[in-house]
């Protein structure tokens, strides 16, 4: 199944996306610091299950235009109606992972008529105190070193996060997308830690699947959201890492496709 790439007009300029197949539309929003590449292994699998997934590069990431200011989470969510317009659809299922899950929740809150179903995985559903603590630590861009060690520093960062259990391929992609985002790579996390995620998920009316994996750093936050919204379908996977979507694309796509295509 061939992956097709394209651009849609968006609130901050051009939005770049990858898509495959035909079927139930599903817009996928990625984690930080990543891009639509994170969903590349999943797209063809989803397509064989009757889902046309559109993995969008969030503004400032991948090949999408860099915004002139640090966007809010609601501004990231505003790309959803732009993508729907581009494809001529009135509604779609929205899926998001980590920062993308926060954006997907904001889209479900802001555009309830456009979001038919919601799939979130690794939701940054921190307590207000945790949000403040994270917001205080801005990472900023890694300066370019004459000896090329800046690549190694970021490689080590991603490698440490995965405790050696992430694939080399996804770590390589993560380093590239980090440096591709450049000086504004902090925008996405900035939006996460200044977002009223509690109000957003309180407001969600779309049928929602909450996926978590016990090896992900946001597993406790997913459990907290599951307690706050016991009506969300909750699927906990044993193990995995924060790169589950890429490294375990097949089981992930199967879970997502089953929910998205299920008759309600």
């Amino acid at each position: 199944m061939t992956i097709t790439r394209g651009y849609a007009g968006g609130p901050f300029g051009q939005l770049h996306y990858e898509t495959a197949g035909e079927g139930m539309p599903l817009i996928l929003l990625h984690q930080m610091v990543q891009s639509s590449v994170q969903f590349r292994p999943a797209l063809p699998i989803l397509a064989t299950k009757g889902v046309q997934a559109i993995a969008v590069d969030l503004p400032g990431y991948g090949m999408s235009t860099v915004p002139g200011h640090a966007p809010t989470m609601d501004e990231y969510a505003s790309i959803v109606p732009a993508v729907l317009d581009h494809f001529g659809w009135n509604e779609a299922a929205i899926g998001g992972h980590h920062t993308g899950a926060s954006a997907a929740g904001a889209a479900a809150q802001g555009y309830p008529d456009a979001v038919s179903k919601l799939v979130v995985h690794g939701v940054p559903y921190f307590t207000p105190e945790e949000m403040k603590a994270h917001a205080a630590g801005s990472h900023g861009a890694k300066p370019i070193a004459e000896d090329g060690s800046h690549f190694k520093d970021i490689w080590n960062l991603f490698h440490d996060l995965g405790k050696g259990n992430v694939s080399l391929d996804v770590s390589h992609q993560s380093v590239l997308t980090y440096f591709l985002a450049g000086e504004t790579e902090w925008h996405g996390h900035n939006a996460v830690f200044s977002h009223d995620i509690w109000a957003a998920f309180d407001a969600v009316t779309a049928p929602t699947l909450l996926i978590t994996n016990t090896g992900d750093m946001l597993n406790p936050q997913d459990r907290a959201l599951s307690e706050a919204r016991p009506d969300f379908e909750f699927k906990e996977i044993e193990g995995g890492t924060f790169q589950y979507v890429y490294d375990d694309a097949e089981p992930w796509a199967n879970i997502v496709a089953e929910f998205v295509t299920r008759e309600s």
């Binding site: 051009q14 090329g148 190694k152 590239l176 440096f179």
Partner: protein, 262 residues
């Protein structure tokens, strides 16, 4: 102003390109490994001079689809027709840098009626012996468990860029190289397999050989001038193969002066 980016379908899969400006159309073809982003400093300057600058990602580079099997320079040249058609252009001026100069020479050889004029920025007029000596290297890159493949790539670019001054351009090149995937070595392979001689000697449209004295293949531009003394010749002083980053104003001035006089 930033270029507007788009895809068009081509014989090797999706071709990615970026456009800035209105006016005289100019197709830009990049060196390898790199992408159409190597002209990022030039796009706004060209647009301001009344040029519609169209940077094309060579198949397998930037965001253009990776061709399989491994492509030739003729395959690379096949990307330009669909871009012209997509933009509704019968013909355009063409500029190519290093491998890009081979790409546009091949296109001009095959489709002379679609090329108003040609700028060869470092034409790779290697002899058969020189090509044989380099066709073996480099090869596929492997992602290493300790991430050292980035350092290997960085060191290789450093070694290939004697006299570099712009570290941002160096970083940018390594990024653009790796962004397209592990097949970035296809470009040099195709360039060294390609014998440019017949196509180059047969060119009939107005042509400028553009070079800079610090370019790693400056001597080839001088050789090209000797082979075709009828072609225009302009050399900038100093610089490296990152000349567009290093001297964008002087580089654009030379390009615009030729196009407007051609």
């Amino acid at each position: 102003m930033k270029p507007r980016r788009a895809y068009v379908d081509g014989p090797t899969g999706q071709i990615h390109f970026q456009v800035l400006g209105e006016g005289i159309p100019l197709i830009l073809s990049h060196q390898s490994p790199s992408s159409s982003n190597m002209f990022r400093e030039a796009y706004p300057l060209l647009a301001a001079a009344g040029i519609k600058a169209i940077g094309v990602d060579t198949p397998g580079f930037g965001s253009s689809a990776v061709p399989e099997p491994r492509p030739s320079v003729r395959d690379y040249a096949s990307a330009f027709g669909p871009v012209l058609d997509h933009l509704g252009l019968e013909k355009a001026h063409f500029l190519g840098h290093h491998t890009g100069a081979a790409n546009v020479t091949e296109f001009a050889h095959l489709h002379p009626n679609r090329v108003s004029s040609l700028i060869l920025n470092g034409p790779p007029v290697f002899s058969a012996e020189e090509r044989d000596g380099r066709v073996g290297a480099p090869g596929p890159m492997k992602i290493q468990p300790d991430g050292s493949h980035f350092k290997t790539r960085w060191n290789a670019r450093m070694a290939a860029t004697v006299g570099w001054t712009d570290i941002d351009a160096m970083h940018h090149n390594v990024m653009q190289t790796l962004w397209s995937g592990e097949t970035f070595w296809y470009g040099h392979k195709a360039a060294f397999e390609y014998d440019i001689t017949d196509a180059f000697m047969g060119l009939k449209m107005p042509t400028l050989i553009l070079t800079n004295t610090g370019d790693d293949i400056y001597h080839l531009s001088c050789r090209a001038r000797d082979m075709r003394p009828d072609m225009a010749f302009t050399e900038l002083v100093g610089g490296t193969h990152d000349i567009v980053d290093e001297q964008p104003e002087a580089w654009v001035e030379a390009v615009v002066a030729f196009i407007k006089g051609a």
